[in-house]
């Protein structure tokens, strides 16, 4: 089991109202899971917990058999670098790096992923181009552009290549298609799902878009899953400003 969490609770700080309260969630090796739910239901918070950026106060959070809840911050960072790829909704790329440098970025932080990337290709650059080609982005012209000049669809594919390089066991995707129009959405999702299937990578894909469900192995209604989110808490700061 790649993902195995039970009775997981997380609050912004101890004693506050929990944002996440999930009795159980699992994902098997190679399984592609859609977590759908409205925005503000805590989906991004869950991704933060899975990515080891946030630390849960209570419960079990096992990834690849290791309990993230028992790790210290630095260990969780290392774990994320080695085993997890992440795709954001927007602004996935570091503006001062080239397309290829953006793809190979995880290899700078993880020797493990670097080794696995080099296991497949003779150089990191070649491995990056291999992934970009798999995601139908091999045009020399595109590769040499500054990343800020790429279209959103191209940027998302570069982000997918970055998430997949070095064969992480788990890819977390946070609404990566919501900025794409329908055609591009189809194309991007198709490529991402196909590559995850081929690599045997587990994919947790978070979206508010329920219509994507048929393309996944399984879907989870996040609003129903997360007991903490009857009503999303409001940020108190703006209220004070209004008053």
């Amino acid at each position: 089991m790649i993902v195995d969490l039970a009775d997981l609770r997380y609050a912004w700080k101890n004693g506050a109202r929990p944002l996440i309260d999930i009795p159980r969630l699992t994902a098997e090796v190679g399984e592609r899971v859609l977590l759908w739910g409205p925005s503000g239901s805590g989906k991004s918070t869950l991704l933060g917990l899975l990515g080891g950026v946030l630390a849960a106060q209570h419960g079990r959070l096992r990834l690849l058999g290791q309990d993230l809840a028992r790790m210290r911050g630095v260990q969780r960072d290392r774990f994320r670098a080695d085993y997890i790829g992440v795709i954001f909704q927007l602004f996935n790329l570091v503006p001062y790096l080239s397309v290829v440098e953006n793809v190979t970025l995880p290899c700078r932080f993880s020797r493990h992923r670097k080794a696995r990337a080099l296991h497949r290709s003779s150089s990191l650059e070649r491995e990056a181009i291999r992934w970009l080609t798999a995601l139908e982005l091999s045009d020399r012209e595109v590769l040499e552009k500054p990343v800020a000049e790429l279209s959103v669809g191209q940027q998302q594919r570069v982000a997918a290549a970055r998430a997949l390089i070095g064969a992480p066991a788990l890819v977390l995707a946070d609404e990566p298609t919501s900025a794409l129009d329908a055609d591009l959405k189809e194309a991007f999702l198709g490529l991402l799902l196909a590559e995850c299937a081929r690599e045997g990578t587990t994919l947790l894909f978070v979206s508010h878009d329920h219509s994507l469900l048929p393309q996944f192995d399984r879907g989870v209604d996040f609003a129903a899953l997360n007991r903490a989110q009857a009503q999303p808490p409001r940020d108190p700061a703006p209220q004070r400003r209004i008053a």
Partner: protein, 429 residues
């Protein structure tokens, strides 16, 4: 990480370059002020190495020191040859060199003295003067010149020169009839000697006589109009051991057999009944001079410190204003495995890099300025700046600037640390 930081900086090279430049300039200013302070003191102190006392007419000690050794300001009044002989004959005196001041040649001071000057003058911890070529002046129409004079005016041994009266660059009267011949050029010393024309006391006085003659139309042979009593011929005609009594001198450089006698000799000179004289201890007088200039030095140093502070605050402002934009970048780095401390190091490291690079550039700038500006400093202020490695004190100042730069870097570093803890991987700006 370092590669990332450098690429990120290269992406913002314009602002980063400006920040670096402002730090470079401020560091160069701070170290430059310290360097000039140190160099001026060193240069002054090394100029009078070996001279235990300076005797002259009564005036302020600083005035006597500056005019007699550094040719700065107007010369003090003349003193009599008798006084020189008295001082020279004191049992404690090892040597005494008379000097006459007040004339110039095309902006370079002319000093009348004796051959003993070249024997006893010491600079830079006991180094003596050496003649590059030729010999010391033998007669009243011969001159020895410093290397700067030779370089600036293109003089060599054997060349004739006309000396004029007055300390300014422009003299209305030139004594065309009595040219001097250069017999030697001195080796460089890095002291005011390099900018000096040396003639014999007789030659110096002959200039005066010639001037008087030219100005008033008197017959020099009658010796009319000379200030001193004694032998009559102060002009070109009368020269010899006896005639020296007629020569005016401005100051006496004295070397003692034992430094311990300095205060005793000083008291004797100060109480000398023949005429009002004053003796100064150069080292003590220099300290007096530094105590006067210290206020200005402190003010300069304070200004320089504030300029450095402004440079560092400028860097802080640039780093902080860019911080909001960079939260997204940091979220991406976190997603690929960077920890909050990584991110902090990335931002704080930038400040460190900018400070180190800026300070290094500042040192390079300073040395370039010193190399380019040294001749001008020498020509206009008589200040000889040695191009040396940074002193311990300067390295200390550099270290302090670097330390402050690192501290400044902690501010944006800490802020981004807080941001990354709060943002995690979910920045949506």
């Amino acid at each position: 990480m370092v590669g990332l930081a450098l690429k990120s900086l290269r992406n913002r090279r314009f602002t980063a370059g400006l920040t670096m430049l402002s730090i470079a300039l401020s560091a160069a200013l701070l170290i430059g002020v310290e360097r000039l302070r140190h160099e001026s003191q060193r240069s002054f102190a090394s100029t009078i190495s070996g001279t235990d006392l300076i005797v002259g007419a009564r005036s302020g000690p600083v005035h006597l020191l500056l005019s007699s050794v550094f040719h700065i300001g107007s010369p003090t009044n003349a003193i009599s040859w008798d006084s020189y002989e008295t001082v020279a004959a004191l049992p404690a005196t090892a040597w005494a060199v008379p000097i006459s001041l007040g004339d110039s040649h095309r902006g370079f001071p002319v000093v009348g003295t004796t051959a003993a000057y070249f024997e006893h003058y010491r600079y830079a911890r006991g180094r003596g003067l050496t003649l590059g070529e030729g010999r010391i002046f033998g007669s009243a129409d011969e001159a020895v010149i410093g290397v700067e004079v030779a370089r600036a005016l293109g003089y060599r041994s054997g060349r004739s020169m006309v000396l004029s009266h007055g300390t300014g660059d422009v003299s209305f009267q030139r004594h065309e009839e009595a040219p001097f011949r250069v017999t030697a050029v001195l080796q460089p010393t890095g002291t005011p000697v390099d900018r000096t024309v040396f003639v014999s006391l007789e030659g110096f006085d002959a200039m005066h006589a010639g001037m008087r003659q030219g100005a008033a139309g008197y017959d020099p042979l009658r010796g009319f109009g000379t200030r001193r009593s004694g032998a009559g011929g102060a002009g070109h005609a009368g020269r010899g051991g006896q005639e020296k009594a007629a020569v005016a001198i401005t100051a006496i450089l004295v070397g003692l057999k034992s430094r311990a006698a300095a205060l005793q000799v000083q008291r004797f000179v100060n109480e000398y009944a023949g005429e009002p004289l004053a003796a100064i201890l150069p080292a003590a007088t220099l300290l007096e001079l530094w105590s006067v200039t210290r206020v200005a030095e402190r003010a300069l140093l304070t200004i320089a410190v504030f300029v450095v502070a402004v440079g560092l605050i400028g860097m802080l402002t640039t780093l902080l204003t860019k911080l909001e934009e960079r939260r997204r970048e940091m979220a991406i780095l976190r997603s690929v495995g960077a920890g909050p401390l990584h991110v902090m190091a990335l931002v704080a490291g930038e400040a460190v890099f900018l400070t180190v690079a800026g300070a290094s550039l500042g040192v390079v700038l300073l040395y370039a300025l010193l190399l380019l500006g040294a001749p001008a400093l020498q020509a206009h202020f008589g200040l000889f700046v040695e191009i040396a490695w940074p002193s311990g004190r300067e390295l200390g100042i550099l270290g302090l600037v670097l330390g402050l730069g690192c501290l400044v870097g902690l501010v944006p570093g800490y802020r981004i640390y807080r941001f990354t803890l709060a943002d995690g991987m979910t920045v949506r700006l």
